[in-house]
Structure formats: C-alpha cells, structure tokens
Amino acid sequence: MTERPLTVAITGMNARADNPGPGVAVARCLAEAGRPVKLIGLAYDALDPGLYLDGLFAATYMLPYPSHGEAAFLERLTAAHRDHPIDALIPCLDAEIPACISLADRLRAMGIRTFLPSAEQFALRGKDRLADAAEQAGVEMPETRIVGSPTFFRTCTQDGWTYPLVVKGCFYDAAVVHDATQAVMAYHRIAAQWGHPVLAQKHVAGEEFNLCAIGDGLGGMLGTVMMKKRALTEKGKGWAGVCVDDPAIETAAAKLIAALKWRGPCEIEGVRTRTGEFHLLEINPRFPAWVYFTHGVGRNLPAALLELIEGRPPPAFAPARIGTLFIRYAQEVIVPMQAFEHIVTGGGRAAPEKAVA
C-alpha cells in the first residue's frame, strides 16, 4: 500500500534573480524529501516563475495581494482547495503571514493545517519591536530607532549617532548610508516603497551570518543551519554561501527562539564582530530564499516542518555538513502562451499530467 501524497500549498513563487522568494526552494526541498507530495504553488504576480514550473507543481494559482484583506485571500485559497484539497499551507512571505495566523483556525476547520507563531509572537519579532525581544533574550542588538521625519538624519550625530548607519523599512529593505544626504534619500525611497515607519539602526562592523531553524512553539529550536554569505547581489542578497558552525551564533539564536517561544520556520540575521560577539539584526518569520541549502547540508527543514504540521514529533537531524557551499544561478522558464493565458485570465492552471515528477 502506498502512502497518500500530502497536498501542500506554498506561497512565494517570485524568483527574480537578484531577490528570489523562498517558495520554489521550499517546494524543491519537499519534492526531494523522499515522501509523496503534491505541491500547489500560490503566487501574486503573473510573471512569478514558480507558476510555470510544471515539473515541480501540480497546479498553481494567483492570490490577491495581502492588502486586499483576509476575506479575499481566504476566498481564493478556498477555490484552490476545491480543485485540489490542501492538507498543509506553508506561507513564505512576511506580508501574508499575519493573515495566515488570523485565519489558522478557519483553515484548520477546512482541513488545511499550518505551523505558525501567534499574532503576539509575530509582532514581537517585528523590526520595530525586535529590540525588546533581544533584550528579553539577553542578546546584543544595535540601537534601533523609529524615524518619524528625515530631519533625524541631519541632527542624529548630536545624539551620539555616527555614520555609517542603516536605514531600514518596517517590513523589508535596508541601506547602509554614509552621510545625512544618503540617509535622507534612502528614507524617502524606503518609505515610498514599503511605507512607514522607517527605522534607523546603528551600524555594527563585522561579518553577516544567517541562521535558519524551526521553533517548536515551546521554546525549542530545531534543525539549525548556519550560513555565511560568500557572494552578494546588489541588494545584498546571498548569491553564494557556506555552511558554518559558530556556537556563539547558535547560542544567541536559541535564546531568542526560547524567549519568543517561536513556532514555525524562521531566519535569524546577525553580525559577528571581530571580537566574536554576535549582534542580532533581524528575525524573518519564514524560511529564507536559501532554504534549499538546508536540504543540501543534510537537514531538510521544509520536510521537517511538514512533520510538525502533521502533529508528528520532530525528526532526528543529522549533523549539518559544515563547509558545504551553495552557488545560485538563474535560468529561463519557457512559458507557452496558453499557460500564461490561463494564469492571466483564469487565475490558475494545472500542470500537464506527465509534467509532474
């Protein structure tokens, strides 16, 4: 008797070369995990390439942007669920996670399971409140301030701030600026693109590290994989990276996960100074775009998340293969006109039968 394939819906099908979403990487992890799965891709833009990866996804659907509200999101998800009853949903983009948290009970009633933090946990790791969480966890974090007006950047040096500093969006984007003029430009650009508040953060010199793990919701951190970026895109996204093992970073991450009682996947970003101290920069409430690397080093975190979603105990993780590298590359997906037509006019499409692995 063969195991029934679990139908898993995944968002984040965007994959621009300089800044890909995590969804396609999550799907690759699940497809290669060794258990039968049927993957449904959920996207926000008709040019998201994941919509057309027929070897990976059985069907793909367009979703309304989170700004359209929970009802529109649920309606669209329900339509997909009618066609392909979904067992599990893995949201991969920050902006949609609050809606998924809010809808979790209704989704569960429909038979769609998730493994997400509470609304309060989610809010605590927001960029505007992260400093409180870091303090609670006893983890160093550079001083961060909500900036209400660009005037701050002209006067901040009188309050003990020095350049360079970092201007950050409340959801996304960050720029290291070296003087007030650059700071004001970054402020306006980020505010226009991502809205308010805009944050200023003191710059910490050192090397950036990223850690991916799953919080079990009880304070435990599962399946840690640490990565140092070895090559960056112009946006500062990792184009190549190497798996590392730094106990100082792991300890800091474990404290944060324990303090937040984080439930679900996360990425912790920080800087290690020349003297070896770890300073927290951000906690992202989802798998990172480089999550396929977790599978590459022997710790398939999306597959582990699926176990947790099903209510099973977390798997035993093999030691991560330290020193393994990833190097990203871009490739073209050929999209027949009819496939594009189905997405644009019908909001979804099924892959040809023979195309799904």
Partner: protein
C-alpha cells in the same frame, strides 16, 4: 598575553583547534566560513602550532623538516602568525 593564556602563543588555541586542514593545503574555518590555501611550509607551521604555542619550539621543528636555520624559521613563524591572526580573527 594571548587569548589562550600563554604569553607566546601564535594564535588562540580555540581557533587553531577548530580549523579543518586537508593534506592539499586547503584550510577551512568552520566558525567564520573562510577558507585558505597554504603552501607546504605554511601548512607545516599551522600543524605544529596546533600542538605547540612557543614560536621557538615550532622553529626548531621546522629546521628539522626543512632546509632552514632556526633563527630564520622563528622569524618566519612569527610573521606568518601575524598574517594568520588577521585572517582568522
């Protein structure tokens, strides 16, 4: 005083201990993710430094393995340690 408590240690003991060193001279630091390649004499210095912190004693060992005087070897060991310290932190 060095970080391992020894007054003459070339590099912090915990740094040297964690390095993954292959016969080809490829060296990987699992904490920083940095990798290096070392020529045979540099590799010999690193291997000796993992078990011995005194530059003079390392130089004496090098003088037995390579065609070099102990004083010259000691000078090179100290110089190399300085380069390595900057790279490994």
């Amino acid at each position: 005083m060095s970080r391992d408590g020894s007054p003459h240690a070339l590099l912090p003991a915990e740094v040297l201990k964690r390095l993954a060193i292959s016969e080809s001279g490829f060296i990987f630091d699992p904490a920083s993710g940095d990798s290096f390649t070392a020529n045979p004499s540099a590799l010999a210095i690193i291997r000796l430094a993992q078990g011995e912190s005194d530059p003079r004693k390392i130089a004496e060992q090098l003088a037995l393995e390579f065609d070099v005087a102990v004083t010259q070897a000691e000078r090179e060991v100290v110089e190399f340690a300085s380069v390595l310290r900057q790279s490994l932190g």
